[in-house]
Amino acid sequence: MAHEHKLAIFRGLLKFKNNVQKIWGVLVFLALVTAVEVALGIIKPASLTGTYVLGMKLLNWIFIILTLVKAYYIAWDFMHLRDEKPSLRRAVVWTGVFLILYLAFILLVEGNYIYDVMHNTFITWNF
């Protein structure tokens, strides 16, 4: 059990006096990020839905990045990976990240391909 807590988040930008304070700080941050996500999801600014980056709407990129930010703070501070040995942290995180990216890449490309095949065919799917 890791009894010592690393009390700084945002790469040392924000330091807390004790662990309980850090937990509340992280909660405030996560709530803020969620609020931003929901606000963007309801407003859907045209500037963000109309712009495409790497074939995906900018808004969706923002959602995914904010989600990863949230996931980072949940894993690092709530699941206290920050206080674990780097070897344990890497064994857990890198394995997951690698396999999930791999799976996502393969299936999304395949899904896109099937869409193209169904779309450019002589068969109608709407009869």
Binding site: V26, G41, N60, F63, I74, M79, I100, G111, I114, F127
Partner: protein, 325 residues
């Protein structure tokens, strides 16, 4: 931890005497489980992505589907899910506080924080049950065509305003009743018939020039396409079934796969929350009984805490990929 056999390696790295990752056996196994469970969930979510990419131009728009808040009427996209997300994050916080109090061996604090965590979990599961019920019950109803496409109805003046099939249908003499076991020896189970028949809805539509048909396809602006009057009437000719609400076979909101994945993914996650609540209650009782007080450490609280946070972590992704993106 004591070695059961004398191998002469005690205290060395492979003797099991020390912990190279500085984590106990139980905690390591919890991380093993969490990692494999994360891969299961990502498998589901990626499968969802696959089906969505495959039907990218006809996929339902989530904030047109989930627009209800309990006890309130009207159109409130997303608010309730955001509330659920916040509840789950909040119960994650009380869980970390319980773990923190456990490190300091403060039994009363652990008890209270565990209780709050359990309550948060229950609110979340209850909310999810309510979401399911609303989703299954449906909103406006729709017509399903021969090819399984969904035709919905909107107001001709305001395309954002949906029209329920109940508002336009012309009641007629019913052609058939639901088949029930008392009606014959040869009984095959039949699901309840929808409140209206296709011809009732179609005849009502013909008399209502103010209503148009909205199809599944999405235009460049990301909105569902609304047909003009002539095309609407033509489209309705291929209608074969009235759909109200959603189940695993029919889905009034659009593509049926959307409903299938909704039930599957949020159901699987809800089951995790449910089992998390059960495990939390067990630990909660153990804390009250003083089990960990006698053991001298509260590592069990930390281990279930890891699981509970993981459930929260998964929800963050489900929230994004199901409701936002």
């Amino acid at each position: 931890m004591e070695a059961t056999a004398n191998t002469g390696t005690e205290g060395k790295v492979w003797g099991g005497g020390n912990q190279p990752l500085n984590a106990s056996y139980g905690k390591m196994m919890m991380w093993f489980f969490i990692l494999s469970d994360a891969l299961t969930f990502s498998g589901f979510l990626v499968a969802y992505g696959f089906s969505r990419f495959k039907n990218i131009d006809t996929w339902p728009i989530a904030d047109e589907v989930f627009t209800h808040v309990p006890f309130f009427h009207g159109n409130y996209p997303m608010y309730y899910v955001a509330f659920m997300t916040f509840i789950l994050i909040m119960s994650s916080v009380t869980m970390v506080l319980a773990v923190d109090a456990g490190h300091k061996l403060q039994k009363t604090k652990v008890i209270w924080y565990m209780l709050l965590t359990v309550i948060g979990g229950l609110i979340f599961v209850g909310s999810q049950a309510w979401e399911w019920a609303t989703f299954i019950k449906g909103d406006y109803g729709a017509i399903e065509t021969r090819s399984g496409k969904i035709l919905q109805f909107v107001d001709a003046d305001d395309h954002k305003k949906r029209v329920a099939i109940g508002d336009i249908a012309n009641p007629m003499a019913k052609e058939r009743e639901q088949h029930q076991s008392k009606d014959g020896i040869w009984y095959m189970k039949e699901s309840p018939l929808p409140s209206y028949e296709v011809k009732e809805v179609v005849s009502g539509f013909m008399e209502n020039p103010n209503v148009l048909v909205r199809i599944e396809d999405i235009n460049e602006k990301g909105e569902k396409i609304v047909l003009d009057r002539a095309a609407s009437e033509a489209a309705l000719k291929s209608g074969v079934e009235v759909v109200e609400g959603a189940n695993l076979i029919h889905n009034e909101y659009g593509n049926r796969l959307f409903a299938d994945f909704f039930f599957f993914i949020t159901g699987f996650h809800g089951f995790h929350v449910f089992s998390g609540v059960v495990i939390n209650i067990v630990i909660f009782l153990n804390v009250i009984l003083g089990t960990y007080e006698r053991r001298g450490h509260y590592e069990m609280v930390e281990k279930v805490g890891l699981y509970w946070h993981f459930v929260d972590l998964v929800w963050v992704f489900v929230f994004t990929f199901f409701y936002l993106v």
